[in-house]
Amino acid sequence: MSEISFSFDDKIYKGHQGEPMVAALLRSGMLSITTSTYHGRPRAVVGLGVEEPNALVQLVSGTKESMLPATVIEVADGLAARSLTGVGALPELPEEARYDKTNRYVDTLVIGAGLAGLKAADEHLRAGREVLLIDDQPKPGGHLRHLGLELPASLRDVLAHKSLTYLCRCTAVGLYDQNYIVAIERRSDHLGNSAPANRARIRVWHIRADQVVLAPGAFQRPLIFSNNDRPGIMLSHAAATYVAVHGVQIFKRAVVATVDNQGYRDALRLHHAGVQVQAIYDARPVAEGSSVDAARATGIPIRFRATVLDTVSDAEGVCESVIIQDLDTNETFQITADLLAISGGWTPIVDLATHIGIKPKWSEAHAAFLVNHSTDRLRTHGMLAGDFGGDDNPSIFFGPELDEEQSRHAYIDLQRDTTLHDLRRAVGAGLNSIEHIKRYTTIGTAHDQGKTSGMLTIGALCQLNGVAQGGKPGLSPADVGTLSFRPPYIPVPFAALAGRERGPLSDPIRITSLHQWHVEAGAIFEDVGQWKRPWYFPKPGECMEDAVRRECVAARQGVAMMDASTLGKIEIQGTDAAVFLDRIYTNMFSTLPEGQCRYGLMCKTDGIVFDDGVTTLLGKNHFLMTTTTGGAARVLAWLEEWLQTEWPDLKVYCTSVTEHISTIALVGPKSRQLLQELVKDIDLSNATFPFMHSREAMIDDIPVRIARISFSGELAFEINVTWGYARHIWERLWAMGRPYDLTAYGTETMHVLRAEKGYIIVGQDTDGTQTPYDLNMSWIVSKKKEFIGKRSFQLPYLKAAGRLQLVGLLSDNGDEVIPEGAYTTELNAHPDEHGKTRHTGFVTSSYYSPALGRAFALALVADGLNRMGEVVAVPFGKKVLRATICDAVFIDKENIRRD
């Protein structure tokens, strides 16, 4: 292991590449590395891994991770960190690291590369299965690593098996339905400065496994006693590992307090590493086993029915001596110790299993909650399943009885600084559910999510309830139940979960075949769903208002063109196509002659307008439906739903051609003349090619379909052409249109033009509450046939008087464009005693019309169709405008211009 330097709280430390940061700090004598979140008490490392409640740091180097336990940070050259008091900081620096995600399907996923996991992997490999083995440590072996032992050769062979993939530094953070596992692989932090720039720092694995094996191991748990949070008090397994494996030599005299044989094993390791183990205090009345015998043989004094009651600190708050209580006589005595190693039993890591709702079961024999599970899909192995190995015979003991004052310093959750006293208060307040107690005390809600404090809480509640009920034993942990564990198992950076969905990749951008032209022409775009649509095309120096006026004038007086390709397009074929459309649309399509187009409106079953568009009968039993831009997918899904689930007898097939066909709208009195210059094979005159007709034609040997459709009321042609030729056609028109001052226009001008004609936009002039009647479109509601939504028109409210109806609105001041969304009121409306003013409707669309030379609006007004000519008030901000209700068609009511 190469020696490197890293910094912690601005001081330089030496360490071995890859070792835990806390090991290097401890070796340097750095014990108290932070102070606690609320009480400001000095705190040092307690554990070995993600369960660590105290040693939280922020990375100052690299990605500047906001909060990590220093137990899981592998030191590398250039690493810099600073201590935290349980509150993270978010630096306002751009995140430059890459994050990615991947998907993996596998026969067997084994979580945990300790002995149990490796053995399970071996079994599955032998059964001919492909195995993915993930483990959160840098190296396989689990506890073996903490013991400084190498893997046996047989297990090294497992790792080398061709059907096994092993991912280290990879933590399963969530187990979801149908064996879906989310895991987080840390790929570059441990490399420090030598990490390749293009390497994703964290990879999120989405794993789907036929079988999942959970072998996550267990955490050692602490004990509850007074002043149990002092630096120098450590879980025994952690203390022994730091001393024996990582060469930490700062502890001279140790005391071990235990409830199981693990304390003996760790005492032996400390002893062999040169620490003077002064005594083992075992809460049990008796202990047996090889580790007990071995401890005895070394001469370490062992005392049963004794445990730690309190600790005494030096001026810095560091543990200096320990007060031991005899559990039978309650006598106490003091013993000096700079290390108090605690072994409170094991808490198997049940988290993942509980994510999908499995309830852990309390085992008296193990003094632990276990998940012993074995189905075809999910199995538990190792400590989680109760295989504690060794000679353990743990006691259900969480700490001695403490008085009021002692309980104020007996910490349950070190990160949250919550004490036994806090628990007592919670119980005293009448709370008996562990969930209430968690919420009252905040135990288990900090960075470590109660990995060590959860079980202590349960233990303490058992004790407290025992006291409350006036006798022992009180509740069993089985009665209290566990806290609920929720994903993720460890905190996961937002950036990792966002993964690749950053910036432009956060949501697809959809573009048309003509997009690049629009970009080059300087278009300003608007987002319409996922589409980028040109909003307007400003000339140099023009503001939006200028550009839109110019575009409007061109369309009404000359010729203008827009990209209408985003409209949804659906081919509908089959002998029942017309019957089908009759059921879908409120109006009749079975009467539509071939080669002609018809505007249609569709409702949902509730009678509310849902989409609209023009449908053309291209040939026998062959329609082309257009939908709104936003409605394309919705409408196709709607058609398919009815065909598949209600009317399978109808012979109809629907196919989306939204992208296959690009649509160019050529609009204006000069559009025919211009287009005829390019179209040689058909006559575009009104007599041979009337309004709402569709024709096939050629432009430059490119087949196009031209329709006399107008969304502006002007003479207009929609040119449909396959995606690959759209730009050619557009540019040809553009070139040929120069003498006509052909003008490109965007959606804003389209909106003005259509509003001048009173044409609705579904979703703008409707809000999900309008029937066709409300939109003054009774003409489109067929009386002769049944269609979806018709029945609902009979519901009382849908046919009630006073409904909002679509009308025009002209403000007294023609220069003033009424804000869209503004409400109408009666002229003399005033706020009532509650400050509310009754309104009568609202403005849906509002623009300045160059053609009218004034502003105008569309509005939904109560009973509006019967109130033509009436004046309403439109209050907004501090202003009140007066406006007159009028017909929603402002231009060319006689429909002369379109021909």
């Binding site: 979140t37 306002e92 999120v204 937002f494 949501d507 400050g835």
Partner: protein, 421 residues
Amino acid sequence: MTNTHDTLSPGTIGRRRAATFPEQPPRLWKSVKPKKAYDAVIVGGGGHGLATAYYLAKNHGLTNIAVLEKGWLAGGNTARNTTIIRSNYLWDESAAIYEHSLKLWETLEEDLGYEMFFSQRGVLTLAHSVSDVRSKRRNLYANALNGIDSEWLTPAEVKKLVPIINISEDVRYPVHGATYQPRGGIAKHDWVAWGFAKAASDLGVDIIQGCEVTGFDIKNNKVQGVQTNLGSIAAGKVGMVGAGHSSLLANLAGFSIPIQSRPLQALVSPLLEQVLNTVVMSGAVHVYVSQAHKGELVMGAGTDAFNSYAQRGGFHVIEHQLAAALELFPIFSRAHVLRTWGGVVDVSPDASPIMGLTPVENLFLNCGWGTGGFKATPASGWVMAYTVAHGRPHELNQAFALDRFVTGHLIDEHGAAGVAH
């Protein structure tokens, strides 16, 4: 007691301790065993049920009442929501009840004598497209006529209020503006329920946990009481306030309601130095975020697509939500997801609640709050207490009756106002 808690943030970079909570009172509520009979029984011990019981006792003098909770008190959606409080709804009927609620919130801590960390830090609702702006502005004008405080902020003003927001034009869905309700904010959800529970308990209401209703005693189409796992309980009147389980309760009483139960997920980060003093919502990109009193970021997601009572949802919903959040708040990239969880919300066809009478006499219904029920807790309790006490709806819940689905008079909040968080 309002608007004082936000000053705890030093607003400077540097190590600091997290804010602490004040001590709780020595006793919150008494857990009791059910009596044989009550004047009224409220089924469901969440915020709404407890508030109903409290106002029944306080406003209507009915104290021989019980709240029956099948699990632990307020352990359902009350414990699982993201605590956003606002009243700037689009439709008059919605605005009226949510504004009534907000007014109650403004004096609730004093009324109950219990601190709930109600903090009027303001709620921003972002608009990300031209059409988004149009509908948000309509909302703003509607609020003005309904006497509800609401302002329009330009992107620059948004940035001034929430400096960590990215208002660049280059993000996938840039901020085009926002409505802002200064009186909106957050409260500490558990404490709200506990406050109502304590106050109700102090007024003599029996709070009974671990009591699951398994049936209704109905004679001549009139409710006589409920059957529970703890035995039969006679009741003159019964209020069903069972949130995600409403349709099951209705079925037990012999009728059907238009409710689907869906998972709604939320998440929280570890404690962070204060960076966000305003609640920020964006229906368009599914971000609902605030930074709680102690410093954790609290975020809500959208509902999962399918019916479920499992109190958990899919992780993809969370991943998608975080991607959207980072677009708006690049500074969050180094924050961590500490914990995710799910609730079961009852969703009605028009995303508005259903409150009032049922086909069974003396049996009353309050459900369908979907993703937005927390903010309505006081008003929901207020009007339900009235409805239970008088056997007819309060003027504020008249429009939310079950029969609106027959008349067609829906109050369609998802049509125009986006997500009802």
